[in-house]
Subunit: 144 residues, 2 copies
């Protein structure tokens, strides 16, 4: 989660909403990514999607059943769907997202019968630091 | 929808689940894409995500509020999330997907309070041809 939080801080420095994600296989970091929809002109460029895409490319396959995903914020519906499609084994996330999250909020995607793969889910890891990063980012934007 | 169905047929010819998508702005086709997770080693490479990413890149921005998306199959949660993030104005889709769809099935994402943009939705366009393509693809795979 340390590396995911560092990636989130990098995103904030570039004016992107500070969310970071890391894909890990055993002890090996396969991919690290930060939220970048503006820089990439890509509305799908959330940290989770970018990390999953980079990990799949690095491993040369479209399923990551031996990989875990660490992300600083509760995934949205798009990212929860991507996590299921990628067959991620374990999901570790930081802050809750009551407004846009899709794991414990809104569609609660992994509990839906149309979800074909449910990772093990561990929430609240590094949540305080992640939430502080997000609060700081949005308060600076509102003030400017 | 004709071009989306053609793209779906191309996907089937490459051994990918036959789904195609087109992003349109007014009378102009901005992007056409076919489902390609295997070929691209990318679990997020559904037709909708690829078409949205290509259209955003072509237009140089991460919001497509003046664009419509045509897709041959009801979008899944990942793609419905991507459609909302991209601010797609109108969604036209073909066949229903009771097993994996997220518009009229499962999470019904656009009806969730955590969905921040709801496109106008028109279902069932070219549904017969789209469903026949999918049935043909899966029956060939089961037989082989």
């Amino acid at each position: 989660m340390r590396q995911a939080l560092d990636a989130a801080r990098d995103a904030a420095a570039r004016g992107e909403v500070p969310v970071g994600a890391v894909v890990v296989r055993g002890d090996e970091v396969v991919a690290v990514a930060a939220n970048a929809p503006r820089a990439l002109c890509d509305p799908t460029a959330h940290a989770e999607v970018l990390a999953i895409r980079a990990a799949a490319r690095a491993l040369g396959r479209d399923r990551l059943e031996d990989c875990d995903l660490w992300v600083t914020l509760e995934p949205c519906a798009m990212c929860a769907g991507a996590i299921a499609h990628a067959r991620i084994a374990r999901l570790y996330y930081g802050a809750d997202d009551a407004k846009g999250g899709a794991v414990e909020h809104g569609p609660r995607f992994f509990a839906q019968p149309t979800c074909h793969h449910r990772p093990e889910v561990y929430a609240g890891i590094g949540a305080g630091e992640s939430a502080a990063l997000l609060r700081g980012f949005f308060s600076t934007r509102r003030a400017s």
